[in-house]
């Protein structure tokens, strides 16, 4: 999604004169075009995420619309108090952009994985998160964020491949209908449901994608599906704590819908203590491949 994000920024820059792009020294082979277009409005703070965020808050206070870019884990966690105090408390429209949500940095290892970013960000006041699924979402998301007066967090990753026509990016969208269970997911990990051997279970699964947090009111069609099927599974490349499953469970409980089961598929961390590709970690967390298939089979039996 990085390339599409850079293109979207360049397009947005052609329309507005208040943008400032702040990177904490990341964006090799991705942001060169942004740097060229933005000129003096492209700032590399160096490897200094705390300063990048506070600086952006000051820029926003001076009337600019700053975008702060780094790897998701560094963008969200290293400057957490700066995001809380300088940005969110003041309701300043600073756009935090985290590249590589979940295990996207793969073999780079645990320090580069972002498994708590969404939880950390959704705990903050006034913060709205944008969680694109595919690269085609990115331009829409950037346009929405530019109009959003709230602080925002954008979680980029590897674009998902979802068969068929994808509805426009939205807080909620149904990706497909299914017979017996509602699966609700955020981010590109959803694509793993469409890959063999998991795909043989697709007839059973009604799949919804969450695009923004905090969760907006459930669409009636979703509430009806959940009430009808009474089985919900969430999927996210993020620790369960403070992630989508917890956000959704509150919404469902509040709605009064009675369920037979509610399960969360989420990042398990590093259960074997071994490292590998994004795919390797997804499989270890039962978020991909045969492991996801067995887990879903097991859950569908209940």
């Amino acid at each position: 999604m990085r390339a599409e994000f850079a293109q979207a920024m360049i397009a947005l820059f052609a329309q507005r004169n208040d943008l400032v792009f702040v990177t904490a020294d990341l964006g090799y082979a991705a942001l060169e075009g942004v740097a060229e277009s933005f000129g003096e409005r492209f700032i590399n703070t160096g490897v200094a995420e705390q300063n990048a965020v506070s600086l952006a808050a000051g820029l926003a206070r001076a009337g600019h619309l700053p975008w702060v870019y780094s790897a998701a884990v560094f963008a969200a966690l290293r400057p957490y108090e700066q995001i809380r105090n300088d940005v969110c408390l003041h309701e300043l429209p600073v756009k935090i952009v985290g590249n590589g949500g979940g295990y996207a940095y793969g073999i780079m290892g645990a320090t580069h994985h972002a498994l708590e970013d969404v939880g950390a960000m959704r705990a903050l006041p006034n913060m709205r998160l944008y969680l694109p699924l595919t690269s085609t979402d990115v331009a829409q998301v950037v346009a929405m964020m530019a109009r959003d007066t709230c602080p925002n967090y954008l979680r980029l990753g590897m674009s998902a491949k979802i068969p068929g026509e994808l509805p426009d990016f939205a807080p909620w969208r149904r990706l497909k209908r299914g017979k017996s269970c509602v699966v609700i997911g955020m981010g590109p990990v959803l694509q793993n449901l469409y890959q063999p051997p998991v795909s043989e279970l697709l007839d059973e699964l009604e799949i919804w994608n969450v695009g923004t947090l905090p969760l907006e009111r459930m669409p009636d069609e979703l509430a009806e599906s959940i009430a009808d099927k009474r089985r919900v599974i969430t999927i996210e490349e993020h620790y369960r704590a403070c992630g989508l499953a917890e956000a959704l469970s509150y919404l469902v409980l509040k709605s009064g819908i009675v369920l037979d089961s509610f399960h969360s598929l989420s990042a398990a961390g590093y259960p074997s203590g071994r490292y590998g590709s994004q795919r390797f970690h997804e499989q270890e967390s039962e978020l991909a491949g045969a492991n996801l298939h067995s887990r879903l089979q097991q859950l569908l039996r209940y």
Binding site: V20, R41, N51, S54, L55, G58, A60, Q82, H90
Partner: protein, 273 residues
């Protein structure tokens, strides 16, 4: 004149602290002259001050009351439930306070952002950031310091309130900062060292700073040597003055001491004339 102003500002914030039975008095006394000097002898209408050492908020509120930005009625609500004036500067409630501060290590970076923002807007605005010295333990201060130097933000003046006392000890015992001036020079700053309670010295520092900044030769940092709890004998240069409120007799003694100091200053000024 500045002596009258600082006397008034100090009397007001001492009364605030007494009424609230609150601490952080030493922190306000440490930077009272600096804040008064900035407001009355340096800042223009559109300039902003960021009190990164937010624990001295009462001094800032008192200063704002001195120039009519806050009413005495508002001042009377300090520390009260429902106030706009908490112990440390609030977010969004008071236009002249651009950022909530007091979580140390934020003020210099947000000031840098506003200074850069004004530069991009081609605005002739300046930003005055007052940090403490204990605050310099925070890595984020040095991230901002590097940035300001690299980008030569000449519309930003950084003042370090160097009272040599931090949370629970003396700065040089806890985490030595010296040689602070050499460190800042090595970062690329033009360093001005000044007696932070002396208006004549502050005036000279201002003129030197303006000269340097107009030439855009280097960013400026003013190390203001100060005394925590300045001017009140039982508070001066003590860690306690950061925390302890005043008893009735201590309050009377504090008022008497600043009154005597003020009278002496006025007498000195008359004699000088």
């Amino acid at each position: 004149m500045l002596e009258e102003r600082v006397y008034s500002v100090k009397r007001r914030f001492l009364a605030m602290y007494k009424k609230a039975n609150a601490g952080h008095i030493g922190s306000s006394l440490s930077c009272a002259e600096i804040l008064v000097f900035l407001k009355f002898a340096w800042m223009k209408q559109d300039d902003s001050i960021v009190l990164s050492k937010g624990h001295a908020a009462a001094a800032l509120y008192s200063l704002f009351a001195e120039v009519g930005l806050l009413s005495e009625t508002q001042i009377a609500t300090f520390y009260e439930d429902g106030t706009l004036l908490p112990a440390l500067p609030p977010f969004n409630g008071i236009k002249e306070i651009p950022f909530a501060t007091g979580s140390l290590g934020h003020g210099l970076a947000v000031s840098a952002g506003m200074a850069l923002g004004a530069r991009l807007n081609r605005q002739d605005k300046r930003f005055f950031c007052v940090t403490s010295d204990g605050e310099l333990d925070e890595g984020s201060v040095w991230e901002a310091a590097l940035f300001i130097a690299h980008h030569r933000l000449s519309n930003l003046v950084w003042i370090v309130d160097r009272n040599r006392i931090q949370g629970i000890g003396r700065t040089e015992d806890v985490l030595g900062l010296e040689p602070l001036d050499a460190k800042l020079r090595a970062f690329g700053y033009h360093v001005i060292i000044v007696e932070g309670h002396d208006f004549a010295a502050l005036l000279a520092a201002r003129d030197e700073s303006v000269r340097i900044q107009e030439s855009a030769a280097a960013p400026v940092v003013i190390i203001a040597n100060t005394v925590k709890g300045n001017g009140i004998s039982y508070m001066q240069d003590t860690v306690h003055s950061h925390y302890l409120p005043m008893t009735d007799s201590q309050y009377d003694e504090a008022l008497a001491e600043i009154a005597r100091a003020h009278a002496a200053a006025m007498s000195g000024a008359r004699n000088a004339r």
